[in-house]
Structures are given as structure tokens and as C-alpha cells.
Symmetry: C2
Subunit: 336 residues, 2 copies
């Protein structure tokens, strides 16, 4: 009972017409008569015809597939984004293939290589914590595969990107703390090769500056996003002679881990040291003692926008005049 062998040839034979006529009929081509079309559709349904994607792909040179490479699926920020991407993409008849870099450059490169050899129509990428050069992404460009960066984007202007308004968000978050009368504010940032880390720092810096607060170099830490390093950097902050009263964390996961680090040292999170972070993930809703505020980045919406942009580029692929686009999604500081 292998139905999969039915081709347009079978339909053509059944009706005694040409293969090309069947093909055009199925595509609703205007040059095919109405009755012929009806007959074709009837037979197609009866024989349980399913078009062979390989043949279509071969002819059209299009896979109707987009690749997504993100650092982690486990992080809700990314899985929410994927949901947004999937919704948009699949509504247009495309498929999504997902790879995780696990913040390793080597895995990221492998994923992209695989995208190239499977000839995806486009790629959405959020670079790994290790990525400092963009060789693989240049390869994509060489093969003419459209690319949209997501959240973790390169500094480079000449690329398509969808990102949050992080500088503004960090400014707001820092100001929020300062307005509570807190003056000793530290930042537990991400790795500096990620532009979103620099943006956080910039917003933090601007806020302190505008409020005439002094900036201490010791209050500025970066974690490589591993739990161990986050733990260590938080300990360093606590060990300072002037322990900070608040910490602005790279994201909720960093915040949660930093808070654990606190507890181990007998420091009570959000009482002794206040935490504010980025992402505002649903899991924080389950906590009795979440960060006192978190920047909502609307991951789902960001994903949607990235997908829409990518599809737009794919559709306009022949148009070489297309210039790279940057979409910035506004954030919102949520007080818990």
C-alpha cells in the first residue's frame, strides 16, 4: 500500500492527456481549460497524488526550507523566538530546520555548512558566545543564501538584523535602580564579542552618567555565560570592599545563577543585593523571589519579524539592489 509512487504521469495516462497539461492544471495555469482542470484535480485526489518535492526542488532550485541556528533551545528566549519564526514561516509553506550551536563556534560552523549543503532558502542566526569572525556567514553570502541575524547580531551595518533596543533598555533598567536610591550598581554582562553586551554596557554607562553617579571599573564584569563563570564573577562582586547594592544581569539565567551564588554566601537576593535582568522569561513567573525587574524583549515578536524579513529577502532575491535592513523591537521594563 505504498501510495507514494503516484506522479503526474499517472494522472496524465489516466486521462490520456500530456504530462505538461497536468502540471499546468495543478498550478491553475490560465491556459488550461476548466473541464480539464476539474478532471485533473479529480483524478489527483482519487489517486492520492502528492507532489514530489525533490523534482520540484530540482527544477525550481528552491527548498522551501529555512535554517535557524541559535545558541540554545533550552533558553525560553530562543524557543519563544523559534515559535514566532515557525508560525510565520510555516504559514507561507516553508519548513524550519533548527540547529543549536550551544555557544560553540565549531558547532555553529557545522550547522551552517549543513545548511549550505542542504540548500536552504535562507538562514536566521543568533551567533554563539564564541563567534568573533564571520567566515561561515560569508560563505552563506557567497552561495547567495539570504541571512538575517537575530538578537545576537554583528556590529557590521551591512547585514540584515532584528534586535531589541538594548541600549535604551539598559538605560531604563539602570535608571530604575537608581531611582530607588541605589547608587552602587554593578553589571554582570555577557561576553564582549556580543554586540548586545556592549549595548547593555552603553545603556548602563549612559544612565549612570546622566544621573551623575560614578562608574566603577570593578562593578563591570563579564561572564562567558557558563554557570561556573557566572558563579565566579558574582563571587568577585560580593568580595569587593564596597559590595554593590544591585546587579544588572545579562539575562534571567545569569541573574538566577548569580542569585544562587549569593545564597551560598549568605547574601539574600533582592534584599541585600537587588537583581534586574533581561528577557523576562516565563520561568520567572514560577519563582517566589524573581529579579525585581526584567526587560521584556518580546522574543516571539522578534522571531516573527525576523521570519518576515527573511521571507521578504528570499522573495526579492533577484533584486540585487536590496539593501540590508535593521529592525529594532522596543523593549519594556517589567517590575515584578
Amino acid at each position: 500500500m505504498q501510495k507514494s509512487q503516484v506522479t503526474i504521469k499517472d494522472i496524465a495516462q489516466e486521462l490520456g492527456i500530456a504530462i505538461s497539461t497536468v502540471s499546468r492544471a495543478l498550478q491553475n495555469h490560465p491556459r488550461i481549460g476548466l473541464k480539464t482542470k476539474e478532471q485533473v484535480f479529480e483524478v489527483a485526489k482519487r489517486l492520492n497524488y502528492v507532489p514530489n518535492p525533490a523534482a520540484i526542488l530540482l527544477r525550481k532550485n528552491k527548498t522551501y526550507t529555512v535554517g535557524v541556528v541559535f545558541p540554545h533551545l533550552q533558553e525560553e528566549f530562543f524557543s519563544q523566538a523559534i515559535t514566532g519564526i515557525e508560525d510565520v514561516i510555516s504559514a507561507q509553506g516553508y519548513n524550519v530546520v533548527i540547529s543549536q550551536s550551544r555557544d560553540k563556534l565549531e558547532r555553529e560552523n557545522r550547522a551552517i555548512k549543513s545548511f549550505i549543503s542542504s540548500r536552504v532558502d535562507g538562514v536566521i542566526a543568533s551567533i554563539s558566545a564564541e563567534t568573533t569572525q564571520y567566515y561561515s556567514f560569508k560563505e552563506l553570502e557567497n552561495y547567495g543564501i539570504p541571512l538575517v541575524f537575530f538578537d545576537r547580531v554583528p556590529k557590521d551595518v551591512a547585514v540584515n538584523k532584528v534586535r531589541g533596543n538594548i541600549v535604551e533598555a539598559a538605560f531604563e533598567a539602570t535608571s530604575f535602580l537608581a531611582k530607588k536610591g541605589i547608587t552602587k550598581i554593578a553589571i554582570l554582562n555577557g561576553p564582549s564579542n556580543l554586540e548586545i553586551s556592549n549595548e547593555r554596557l552603553e545603556g548602563y554607562w549612559k544612565a549612570l552618567k546622566s544621573l551623575n553617579l560614578s562608574i566603577f571599573q570593578q562593578y563591570i564584569k563579564s561572564t562567558d555565560l557558563t554557570n561556573e563563570d557566572t558563579f565566579k564573577k558574582m563571587e568577585e562582586l560580593m568580595a569587593l570592599p564596597e559590595q554593590p547594592q544591585a546587579v544588572l544581569c545579562f539575562n534571567d539565567y545569569v541573574a538566577l545563577f548569580a542569585m544562587q551564588s549569593c545564597r551560598q554566601k549568605g547574601v539574600i537576593p533582592n534584599t541585600d543585593i537587588h537583581f534586574v535582568s533581561f528577557a523576562n522569561l516565563p520561568i520567572t513567573a514560577y519563582l517566589d523571589n524573581p529579579p525585581i525587574a526584567s526587560v521584556e524583549q518580546f522574543a516571539y515578536k522578534m522571531g516573527e519579524q525576523a521570519a518576515i524579513l527573511l521571507l521578504k529577502i528570499i522573495d526579492a532575491k533577484q533584486d540585487k539592489t536590496l539593501i540590508p535592513e535593521e529592525i529594532i523591537i522596543d523593549t519594556e521594563l517589567i517590575i515584578h
Copy 2:
């Protein structure tokens, strides 16, 4: 600089040999001379040749792609499993395309239809909370597409499945509570069309029985896994004249939400009412007050096993004598 057009024809032309020779050389066919092979590989590398998957697919009728349809990516249990699947699958040169059913039957059906029309080589599925009939899955079978069920599996014996030893786990979890001297143990289960719900109930039931504890019908509740319903069912439990002292929850998410429900009513989780759950997700590591114990199901390992099984079936596809296999992964009760 569109390199993507390089075909074996170009390589053949460059070397002045036949296309078929190039094809065989690249496949390391024994009938091709060593020097020819070397030349072919050299030119292939130089021209940056990438095989066209569409053409291969068309000839071989194989996509080197497997479809995965899971209820949610957001749930760490599933994203961990996907990581396991991805690791195994991609090591064998396959790709993974992922769809989320969001616990909706209609989305599940759509995903499977899409898998059929994109001609995936196999499917791994964890059924939605709504699934009671398996029409779509039967379709897969009709098309001869191998299928492995994962975690949320049908009762049906005649299917391939990978699942945890849930009856045993529920028995252990319930016994654990009883041994603490707790006698009034409720269960906040998942929907009854999921076999894993029934298994939990069975283990719960057996444990109470073996300990000579009585079973109260009011202590047995099912949630449809939406937060609202979980909330409601937990409230019902609390409103009972004999409030339970402990609740065995379907999974960590249900537990966390039930615990929130407690707090709203002024009931202190794990003091007034103890919680034990399934999944033992990493997020519980971030909580100050997690369920007192959780059943580790080794999602990553389960994913690996499912992928291994699926690949095995794909490889043995011609062998019609293959009988459905059931892989059971042992669980472990983790005390927090």
C-alpha cells in the same frame, strides 16, 4: 560569485572525463582508478562543489531528513530530548525538522501532513494532549514512513516507542511520600488520553495499595495542562474538607503552577502541602523552594534512544519482518 551552480558535470568537463565517472569517483566506487579519484576530489574541492540534494533525493528517494513533532519546545523536557535526537541524527548526516503541536490535535495533523509532503525519512512524535485517535499517524504508515513515538505514546502495542518507566517511577514517588509519614496524598495528573497519565495513576494506586493506604477519589485530579486548569484543580484539592498533605504532580510545570495556586490561598508549598513531580527540569535548580522531589526521566537519553531506533528502522526499511520495538528508560527519583 554564485558558486552554487557547480555540478559534477563541471568537474567532468574540467577533467575531460564522463559525468558517471565523476559520480562514481565521489562515491569511492571500486571500479574507478585511484588517480582519477584523486583528480576528481581535487577539482571538486577547488571548484567548491556541493552535491545537489534535490537531484540525489530524486534518484534515491531519500531526504536524509527526519521530522519531530512535540507539544512544546519551551518545556525543557522536550528541548533536552530534541538535543539528544539532534546529536544522534546529525552525526549520521541527517537533518531534523521540528514542529510544535502546542498540544493541539489540529496542529499535530498539519505537521504530519507537512512531513508527508516533504517526504521525510522518518518521524519522532510525542502526541498532543488532545490526541485520542491516530488518523494522521496511520497515514504515515500508509506512506511507509517509519515512526517512533516518544514519551507520550499510544497504548497500542504495535508501534515503536521510547518511554520512561512511569508506573515504577510513580510508585517510588508515592512511596517516598508515604515513608515520610504522609498519608493524605493526592495526584494532579495529566489528561487521561495520555497513556503516561494512566501510568502515573497506576503507580500511585499500586503504591497506596501496597502500603495499605486508602484511595480517595477526590484526591485524583486531572489537568488538561493549561495553567488555568492546573490552577483550578489545585484549588479544588485545597478546598477539600480533608486537604491533602502532598500532591504528586504530572510534571514540574504543573507542580510549579500548583504551588503558585497554593501561595495565593496562603498555603505554603512544601510546608503545608508537599509537592513531588516528574521531569526534574534544570529550572528547578534555580528555585529556592522546588518540589521536594522530582522524577528524573533522562530526556536527553530518551531522545538519543528514539533517534537510534528510528535510524535503525529507516535502515532496515525493506525488511518487512521488522516488529515494533519498545524501549523503556529507567527513571530515578531525585530528592531536592
